[in-house]
């Protein structure tokens, strides 16, 4: 009970008044101000498939608040119901569009007022030929003719022919005689429908209808004159049968239609082209598809069970492992918060709310949710209607003070807590987090774009100034400790002497380090040699010295090779007696300033023979 108070959703108790049962799908539910009185009602198709009657039937039900106010039978099983405004005349009257089989029925004030049927495709030449012959030829030749048709792909035949092929011999003749004059054409059933706003995103703008048929065709229907204003195909081959649809944009400017097919493909259609472009293909079936309006990403739930997010180019942005099979998916546009949540209903009754990749809320219902709907209902703006598989309706209202924030830390913690093998795979394959661009970064980038030359110049000036300062500091440090005896009083005094043996080009440089103290040990010493690379090469320039005990001198030797020109076997011209020297530095670890810095003058090298 205490947790119920902290929840983000207020539960509206329908109670035992009259338990309303409603078996429906998300696409067959809509919210509409059908009576034009400002009270938004819930419209849903109640589909009864397991009735005692042989024919499955459907009813259009209208709920005012929690009460069933009206119901009327539908002439078939609907695939989708949409409420839309067709013009801008006042008072604005919504029109309810119900897609049944190959036609869309339009209702105004809940009275039927128009029926639109999608155009038929031209039939195959062979099929037309067969239908021309069938009525005039004798019955015994029919078998041969029908055999021809059986070779054709079943999906490419008209419904009339499909039915004929199923009939037995004696039923055929009567069927042929009754149907011989009807046109032979292939009509696609509407499998998905949604609204596309015509111009702006102002409240209740006039809309067009987007229809997708099982022949793979997509139409945009203008519901005033009932003309098709846009026609396209899902993709170049016929087998891609769309089942899910999501639309974004406005018809007049630009729009995008994303279609999910039955075999796991996702296709993107734009206004400019009329053939879909495959953007991704999953091996498992899709259960939900959304094109999110804000960041233009495509969210998909699959039977794997995964929750995946793709860019419009088909790049996987992230994926999440779900605990159970996703049943339906719903976008929740929270305009007052400026975010869009995605609700995913899972098998078993859990409904999860995602903000991008983060789980921000969760509802648990006693049963699997079959359909969800969100929007303004009645007088309240943020109402979520959930229908379970047994037909129970749950209504949840979003609390006004609710804020959804992507809690990255909590998400990571929960991910760690319930880490499973498959989850680890999902995480490994997801993309790394990229920090967001700060405003300073964006401003600087813009400034650099504008004044590229000047900013490059000033950067170079600053770089050289830095190098100059560094070089000056180095010289100062070396010069200040230029002696053969270390002057640092805090450590044991050390003396360095050098001796060069050999006549060239290979020399041997002997260094003697002597501890002048009587009781202190000189430890952690490093000898560093530095010479002009063009004049001398050294295989080893650095030596870590062992601890130098008082009185016992330490001798180290280095190999130095003078660089000679390969052709004339002479030292390079830049080598003069003044700069023919090697700098020796005695360093103590942890100190930036050398203890001793000395220059060893090198004798002139003899030519190598």
């Amino acid at each position: 009970m205490a947790t119920a108070l902290t929840t983000n959703w207020l539960h509206v108790d329908i109670g035992d008044e009259t338990p309303q049962l409603l078996s429906t799908l998300s696409s067959c539910m809509t919210l509409s101000d059908v009576q034009c009185d400002g009270y938004v009602r819930l419209l849903a198709a109640d589909i009864s498939l397991e009735d005692e009657e042989e024919q499955p039937s459907a009813k259009l039900k209208v709920f005012r608040g929690l009460k069933l106010k009206q119901e009327q039978p539908l002439p078939g099983i609907p695939t989708a119901i949409e409420s839309l405004y067709i013009d801008e005349t006042e008072p604005k009257t919504p029109v309810v569009a119900v897609a049944i089989a190959e036609s869309v029925l339009f209702y105004r004030h809940l009275k039927p007022y128009f029926k639109y049927t999608v155009p038929a495709l031209d039939a195959e030449e062979l099929e037309l030929e067969v239908w021309r012959k069938l009525p005039v030829m004798k019955s015994d030749t029919h078998d041969a003719l029908l055999q021809l048709l059986k070779d054709v792909d079943h999906a490419k035949l008209s419904r009339k022919t499909q039915r004929l092929l199923q009939l037995s011999g004696d039923e055929r003749d009567s069927f042929i005689s009754t149907h011989k004059d009807s046109p032979v054409g292939r009509v696609g059933n509407i499998v998905a429908m949604c609204c596309l706003k015509r111009v702006s995103s102002s409240p209740n703008p006039p809309s067009h209808l987007v229809l997708a048929t099982d022949t793979g065709r997509v139409f945009v229907l203008e519901p005033q004159g009932f003309n098709l204003v846009y026609q396209a195909r899902t993709c170049s081959y016929e087998t891609a049968v769309p089942s899910l649809i999501s639309v974004h944009g406005t018809y007049e400017t630009d729009f995008c239609i994303v279609l999910g097919t039955r075999n796991g493909g996702v296709y993107l259609l734009r206004k400019a082209n009329n053939e879909g472009q495959e953007i991704l293909k999953l091996t498992t079936a899709l259960t939900g598809l959304l094109l999110l309006p804000v960041d233009q990403t495509i969210v998909v739930t699959s039977m794997e069970p995964r929750y995946l997010c793709y860019s419009k180019r088909g790049k996987l942005l992230f994926q999440l492992q779900l605990e159970a099979q996703p049943v339906c998916i719903l976008p929740l546009m929270l305009a007052h918060l400026g975010i869009t949540l995605v609700a995913v209903a899972l098998q078993g009754g859990v409904v999860k709310f995602f903000l991008q990749r983060f789980l921000v809320d969760e509802l648990v219902l006693p049963e699997t949710v079959a359909a969800m709907l969100y929007g303004r209902m009645g007088m309240e703006d943020h109402v979520l209607t959930l229908t379970t598989q047994s037909g129970e309706i749950f209504i949840k209202i979003l609390r006004r003070v609710t804020r959804f924030e992507a809690d990255v830390v909590a998400a990571a913690a929960s991910a760690n807590k319930t880490i499973t093998n498959s989850q680890r795979i999902a995480e490994a394959s997801s993309i790394l987090d990229k920090p967001k661009k700060s405003s300073i970064f964006v401003e600087q980038a813009a400034r650099e774009k504008q004044k590229a030359k000047a900013s490059y110049g000033s950067f170079q000036v600053e770089l050289w100034r830095l190098r100059h300062t560094a070089a000056r500091a180095t010289i100062d440090a070396i010069n200040s400790s230029e002696s053969t005896i270390s002057g640092d009083l805090t450590h044991a005094p050390v003396k360095l002497s050098a001796e060069v043996c050999g006549s060239g080009p290979a020399f041997r440089l002997y260094l003697t380090v002597q501890n002048l103290s009587t009781f202190k040990m000189a430890s952690n010493l490093i000898v560093l040699l530095h010479a002009d690379r063009r004049h001398y090469t050294m295989s080893q320039t650095l030596a870590r010295l062992p601890s130098v005990l008082p009185g016992i001198p330490l001798r180290v030797d280095f190999e130095v090779v003078a660089v000679l020109d390969a052709l004339d076997k002479l030292p390079p011209a830049s080598l003069t007696p003044d700069n023919s020297q090697i700098r020796v530095m005695l360093l103590k670890t942890g100190q930036s300033k050398p203890l001793i810095a000395a220059a060893v003058a090198m004798p002139q090298s003899e030519a190598a023979f």
């Binding site: 109670g15 608040g65 007052h336 209202i397």
Partner: protein, 222 residues
């Protein structure tokens, strides 16, 4: 008339002025209720949803009341809390026929059921009321709250006893409250409620003055 009023103002040295806040969900009838209190020539015939808030001024029972008519739409409800500081009384209007945002368990007026309902099943009316009562600007003040169970003429409206039980008004201990059913269109029950509210505010002002006076005198004694 204007002169007379001015004269009356001059004679009455201290005139009672009260600021009240009118809250409630959208479509509950706040503006319609205030419309009833206005002079006949100022009343408007058509009510439209309030945007933001409106300030209405009217005279009743010898007091000048400044009423803040707050919009009840979801996106304007966050404006309510800004008015809490300078209000002396609150009118909370409830649409007693709006079952969806109100919850229905209140039908059974069984105490046990009601408490479980009020704990576990807050709906929008209750939720918004709780937000108002828990606001820091109000929770430590004794601001009288008047509830109107509006639209009592509708057939499926709830009685004020049931509303009080459903909202758990018994739990409001630190503030005086009163509920009356009303019909804003005919004006039924409205005057009774405002009468109570004005009395309460007067009482609160008086007791406040007394309190400050006694404090004052005690200081002098010291």
């Amino acid at each position: 008339m204007g002169m007379l009023n001015n004269l009356a103002d001059l004679i009455k040295v201290k005139k009672d002025k009260m600021t009240i806040l009118v809250l409630g969900l959208n479509n509950s009838g706040k503006s319609t209720i205030l419309n009833h209190f206005k002079k006949p020539n100022e009343q408007s015939a058509i009510m439209v949803p309030t945007v933001g808030f409106l300030v209405e001024q009217f005279y009743t029972m010898g007091v000048s009341i400044k009423a803040m008519d707050m919009s009840g739409a979801t996106r304007y409800r966050n404006l309510w809390e800004h008015q809490f500081k300078n209000c002396q009384g609150i009118i909370y209007v409830i649409d007693s026929s709006d079952r969806m945002r109100f919850g229905k368990k209140s039908i059974e007026c069984n105490c046990v059921v009601v408490t479980s309902f009020t704990l576990g099943l807050p709906v929008v009316v209750k939720d918004e009321l709780d937000l108002v009562l828990q606001h820091p600007d109000l929770c430590n003040r004794t601001v009288p709250i008047l509830f109107y169970g509006n639209k009592s003429d509708l057939e499926d409206s709830l009685s004020n006893v049931k509303i009080a039980a459903a909202l758990g008004l018994d739990n409001i201990k630190d503030k005086p409250w009163h509920i009356c059913s009303s019909n804003a269109i005919s004006g039924e029950g409205l005057d009774e409620g405002v009468q109570w509210l004005v009395q309460q505010i007067r009482f609160a002002v008086l007791s406040h003055r007394k309190g400050s006076k006694s404090k004052h005198s005690s200081k002098i004694n010291k």
